[in-house]
Symmetry: C2
Subunit: 196 residues, 2 copies
């Protein structure tokens, strides 16, 4: 049944947009395709997303944030900062890896979209490094970590572990030994944050 | 003057190959183009490099190794391991960055070639991590660094600093603040290697 103006939510539009992108690819998918998939006029879609670019940016942000939910929980847990940091980095790697491995077509589609919507990516990365900074800060408070500047340290940890969350490395994630490489880098950065 | 069979060295062929690649691009450049540029028959080129693939692999290896010469000197110097490590990482970053920035066309050409010749890249990376391992090992000997496994630590340092030498990040190297990001990561990994 086609959604009415009451049931046509932004979330339904974003779901349909992802499905259309998966089917047609980012080069060909249009707002008309999305409207058709929903059984509504394209005007109804434009009432929620003013332009095709706005719709694509929103669906990109939604995709990027799907992982962040789990990470937010870990970041806010009330336990030892070092184990939280390790779990957070492992959860980020696992989330990116499963996205790349489970649905490579959709992953490739979003690679194109993230390239076009750098702002959505920048916001996503700010949120992630913000979570890292809070974990590091709580570790400083409890005496586990020593750093005078948790924000800079968070950015450094994010960059140092980029090989294990940056989609450009997706092919390396399937190679044997990648978990050993990951553990070695995490051990190194945790030592780097730890009190002397 | 065209080289004779005595003066046609592998190095001259590789120089000409690089020039031909720069001019025609990796998709179009042929061994005949290289022979023509040298004023010799293509048979003369094949006497030194048995196949087009072998020639391309050799020119890729030569390009990759151009940076390594400076790094080898730093790795073998007889001074404090921490400052050698910092200088080595800075020299690697500077070498990659200037390659990408000074001659972007040739850089793009070699991006294609390194994709095709993974073995040459693997050998190059083994040489680099070998140098890192020797620096770390000498730091362990002198009591600057503590690690039971310099080879694993070297690989972790190489991976953790990938953002500052992996050509996939070339566009990020032009952004303001990249040197601060680099310093923050190097500080973090040096702390991670340092004695408690």
């Amino acid at each position: 049944m086609a959604p009415t103006s009451e049931t046509l939510t932004p979330e339904r539009i974003l779901e349909a947009t992802e499905e259309v992108l998966r089917r047609h690819g980012p080069a060909k998918a249009t707002v008309v395709d999305v409207a058709r998939a929903l059984g509504v006029s394209h005007g109804s879609v434009y009432r929620h997303f003013r332009t095709k670019a706005a719709l694509r940016e929103a669906v990109t942000k939604r995709w990027l944030d799907r992982a962040t939910a789990t990470l937010t929980v870990i970041a806010e847990e009330d336990r030892d900062a070092e184990s939280r940091l390790r779990d957070w980095l492992a959860a980020l790697f696992a989330a990116k890896r499963s996205k790349a491995g489970d649905d490579p077509e959709l992953f490739a589609t979003y690679q194109v979209l993230t390239g076009d919507h750098g702002d959505a990516v920048a916001v996503h990365i700010d949120e992630l490094t913000g979570q890292l900074a809070r974990i590091i800060e709580s570790g400083v408070d409890s005496g586990t970590f020593t750093t005078t500047d948790p924000a800079t340290a968070a950015r450094a940890v994010f960059h140092a572990t980029g090989r294990f969350h940056d989609p450009g490395y997706a092919r390396a994630w399937e190679k044997p030994g990648v978990m050993d490489d990951f553990t070695a880098v995490v051990d190194l950065v945790v030592r780097g944050l730890r009190a002397d």
